[in-house]
């Protein structure tokens, strides 16, 4: 095909980028070369917009065994073991083809983890949709949840935690972020590198078809009315193949026969071979005629750009091919030697004897190379902020009936129990899940070293819309706080940055601010960012999504005298004392209360003081470690009253009846802020009455405000609250609280129950 300006434009390359291609090659590119440049330089693969900003993230620490730059990050959890984890988006594919889009999202992130030599032990998901009552949205939800479950369940990886948020801004462009977590031996981290002159490059897994060609480019443009026509850019999932690849990969890594290994994810064979050669400081030759294909007549361009799923690229030690192939044969996997490592620093593609592409590796993959694309995007403070910040709480009337206000919030999609979702996921397989879904964080035992890890994923698009810097900080702080509530110490985080079109200066400003806020919080809380993913262009013709950085945090719970001590959010015993740790201020900006009851997305999100945040987390971690706490729950959407109700309802394990509580609250702020405000760095705790003195003294020592509210017990949640000029008494029967919690979401989905 002749390379015309139109063809160049269709490949998403700018005129400047095309000039650089001419400079690099010293000639016009072939069609295959143009395809390779276009995917390697797409936003999705090159991070040309985001990379300069992401450099502000803290990425080091004594616990970090592998930071960003590899397939996934790795953190030390002691005893010679490491945990490997990463989060990634699959937003556009899921918006077009929800089941396959979500399923392949899980598949891709699992491969990133087991490619590092880690056995996957858990998945998490973070989802954003429009209103579940909308039939279009309902179909997306059903498809996405079934796809995530269909994949993880089949591979046998428990999906243990997540979050689901509903807001109209995500109606057309839903967000589907999947996180995978794996366990490995710290001395056996596999890496995606190609080195050793003449070492064979081996292709394994599914055959290559025409599916997913230009998926990476598709991810780098906005969704439009025509996006449905790009369904062929969505790949099809084969979780059974993934399971075979997983087992074979772990056997191969343990065998010591490999030099390097990499998943063929976005931009398939192209990015895997280019990136491996780049990391190994080598060149690579691929012969597309040797690649196992599922369709005939595929051009080299198509083979190189296909994003068929469940494929990996290996570099084996020369002469060890037989051993590699034997392991692959055991698992019944396709394998073929498709090329070799070279020393000339070039990435060459042959079709049989014919050279169809020859490009130096560095300008394709090295962001320090002078001709590597850089997007200098102008930034502008969004105009809408003038309006949202002019908001005065005075203009909002308080509810007449606080009971009614509670039920309205409680039955809304964001606070409704998400059992409908997580019961479709096998969350117990591998028999490690100590705290099942529904609590602030999942907790998994690590049989191999006697410790446990806590996992949580969090984000708040509304806060980020109103103030991306503070919202970014809160995303990190809240995910870490969720982990700390279990008693585990947050170790590191992974992030998925979901934003609109960065060519819009206001979006670019949001992005920059959010990243700055996240970096500051990650630094202060000692949780370096070890892996992540950027997803831009999350827009439809109607609008951009709210800026939505999503943060996954890994925490470590060490045994004390051979015993693990942990907490969940649920009250444990009648008679236990109920406490509120932290300070409640008059903060309703960006709250679930304002959004759901008053239809407002306005004000300033709650302030976050990172020193106080750190102190609160330290307090809870130590209190759990000393066995002082029966339950610990982070205060978030819906504030104190929602947190109380959430601690009353039972988790997935329902051995005994739900517990009520009797609490008295007093404040010098508005009643709605007292009950529903979302002030940060707070936790709702319960403890045996005998442990109260020790808990209070620990709080004093760590300078954490701690107030006794009442006690656990009875068959209803009874609240007596007093604020200036207002007294409220609520008596909420826990059976009804639990019933609404269980049934609200199925009913929003148009189903009576599961």
């Amino acid at each position: 095909m002749p390379i015309t300006p139109k063809v160049v434009k269709e490949h998403g390359l700018t005129a400047g980028e095309y000039r650089n291609i001419l400079k690099i090659l010293g000639r016009k590119p072939t069609y295959t070369e143009l395809g390779i440049f276009s995917v390697m330089w797409s936003e999705h693969c090159s991070y040309k917009t985001s990379k300069p900003l992401l450099k502000g993230f803290p990425t080091r620490g004594p616990q970090v065994l592998q930071g960003p730059g590899e397939n996934a990050g790795v953190v030390d959890i002691g005893g010679g073991f490491g945990v490997c984890f990463k989060i990634e988006s699959h937003n556009h594919p899921s918006a077009i083809e929800p089941y396959q889009g979500a399923a392949t999202g899980v598949g891709g992130i699992l491969r990133d983890v087991f490619t590092m030599g880690a056995r996957p032990i858990a998945c998490l998901d973070s989802l954003r949709f429009g209103d579940p009552k909308d039939p279009h949205v309902r179909n997306l939800i059903k498809g996405v949840v079934a796809g995530i479950g269909g994949y993880g369940n089949c591979v046998g990886i428990p999906t243990v935690a997540g979050e689901t948020v509903f807001d109209d801004v995500y109606r057309e462009n839903c967000l589907v972020n999947a996180m995978a977590v794996g366990l490995l031996r710290a001395d056996r981290i596999a890496r995606g590198t190609a080195s050793g002159l003449g070492n064979p490059i081996i292709y394994i897994g599914s055959t290559t078809g025409r599916d997913g060609i230009h998926g990476a480019t598709f991810a780098s443009v906005e969704l439009s009315e025509q996006s449905g026509e790009r369904r062929s850019a969505v790949q099809v999932a084969d979780p059974f193949m993934e399971k075979l690849l997983l087992e074979a990969t772990l056997e191969l890594v343990a065998s010591g026969l490999l030099v390097g290994i990499q998943d063929m994810g976005a931009a398939g064979l192209t990015s895997s071979s280019v990136e491996m050669a780049f990391r190994g400081g080598a060149g690579a030759e691929i012969d597309v005629s040797l690649v196992p294909k599922r369709e005939s007549g595929m051009a080299p361009y198509e083979v190189m750009l296909s994003e068929s799923q469940e494929r990996m690229l290996l570099v084996a030690r020369k002469g060890k091919e037989k051993g590699v192939l034997k392991i692959l044969e055991k698992w019944g996997l396709h394998a073929a030697v498709v090329g070799r490592v070279t020393g000339d620093g070039r990435h060459k593609v042959f079709e049989g004897g014919r050279l169809v592409s020859s490009i130096p590796v560095k300008p394709l993959a090295d962001d320090h190379h002078p001709l590597f694309p850089r997007a200098h995007r102008p930034e502008k403070r969004p105009a809408y902020l003038a309006k949202t910040r002019a908001f005065k709480l005075r203009s909002v009337p308080e509810p007449k009936d606080y009971g009614e206000a509670f039920w309205k919030l409680w039955s809304g999609p964001n606070l409704a129990g998400k059992g409908w979702i997580w019961r479709q996921y096998d969350h117990m397989v591998r028999t490690n899940t100590l705290v099942l879904p529904g609590s602030d964080a999942a907790l998994l035992r690590v049989k191999e070293n006697g410790s446990a890890i806590a996992l949580a994923v969090d984000g708040n698009g509304r806060y980020c819309y109103l103030d991306p810097f503070v919202g970014g900080m809160i995303a990190v702080a809240e995910a870490a706080r969720n982990v700390a509530m279990s008693g585990a110490r947050p170790l590191a985080c992974t992030d998925c940055l979901n934003f609109g079109n960065p060519e819009d200066p206001e979006i670019m400003w949001q992005f920059h601010q959010a990243v700055k806020g996240m970096a500051e919080a990650a630094q202060a809380l000692g949780t370096p960012v070890v892996s992540g993913n950027v997803s831009l262009y999350n827009e439809s013709p109607r609008r951009a999504v709210d800026p939505t950085p999503v943060v996954g945090v890994l925490g470590l719970l060490k045994p004390v005298q051979g015993r693990l001590r942990w907490a969940s959010q649920w009250f444990q015993r009648g008679g236990d004392a109920v406490y509120l740790a932290g300070e409640t201020r008059e903060e309703l900006g960006g709250s679930e209360y304002l959004a759901r009851l008053h239809g407002l997305k306005a004000g300033q999100p709650p302030a976050l003081d990172l020193r106080r945040e750190k102190a609160l987390q330290e307090f809870v971690i130590r209190a759990v470690g000393r066995g002082l706490l029966a339950s610990a729950h982070d205060l978030a959407d819906g504030g104190l009253l929602a947190a109380l109700a959430e601690s009353c309802v039972r988790g997935a394990r329902r051995g005994s009846p739900a517990l009520g509580a009797r609490v008295a609250l007093a404040g010098s702020i508005r009643m709605d802020a007292l009950l529903f405000g979302e002030s940060q760095s707070r936790a709702l705790l319960s403890c045996r009455p005998g442990d109260s003195a020790a808990l209070e003294s620990l709080a004093r020592r760590l300078r954490v405000p701690l107030k006794r509210l009442g006690e656990v017990g009875g068959s209803s949640l009874r609240v007596e609250a007093s604020a200036p000029g207002r007294q409220v008494r609520l008596d909420l029967p826990v059976s009804e609280v639990e019933n609404v919690h269980d049934k609200a979401f199925p009913s929003l989905m148009g189903e009576e129950s599961l």
Partner: protein, 233 residues
Amino acid sequence: MRFSVLTFPGSNCDHDCWHALKNVLRQKVDLVWHKEARLPQGTDCVVVPGGFSYGDYLRCGAIARFSPVMAAVRAHAGRGGLVIGICNGFQILTESGLLPGALLRNRSLKFLCETVHLRVENASTPFSRLARGGRVLAVPIAHGEGNYTCDAETLRHLEDRGQVVFRYCEEDGAVTPRANPNGSLENIAGIVNQAGNVLGMMPHPERVCETEMGGTDGRLIFESMLDALTAKG
């Protein structure tokens, strides 16, 4: 006692069964690859674990039944050896003809993972002999196709001969439509063959063998098997 836990391509509860038997119940356990034509010497019991053998493509368990190891399992069962099939293992046993009936898609058409209650209907099998009849066990399920069905005559035989071992029930033991998570005929959760030495069940006893996993009711099934084997000598 010596257990053989089978591994098919796509099995994913094999390690969980291995862990429960080896580390919790302290028994000898071998993981046996599906291509083996023979079971390890001295195998007392075969465990066909859960998962998605062959991706559950075609039909759950339909391909696994052709694996070489299944001939050895049939022979083992024919000699009166114990066989327990859990979840996908149950599906493989029905596909293999070792147990009657079939497992259809859940009534809700959704995969479902949650703890359910099981009433012990027959406490005289090698898999339930340590339970009192009518005892209620809390054991998790995790499946998309656990809706047990069979023809009317088979059902009559199963009921008449006490081959229904477990039924889905309420916490208090009442067998109700509400307690039926997947639409199974007569709330059937687990059955034995006519000889009583082959059990298939959809719930996962290996997931509840340790207190920190939320309960130990699953141990009762494995301990019954140990007890039966000891009694047999």
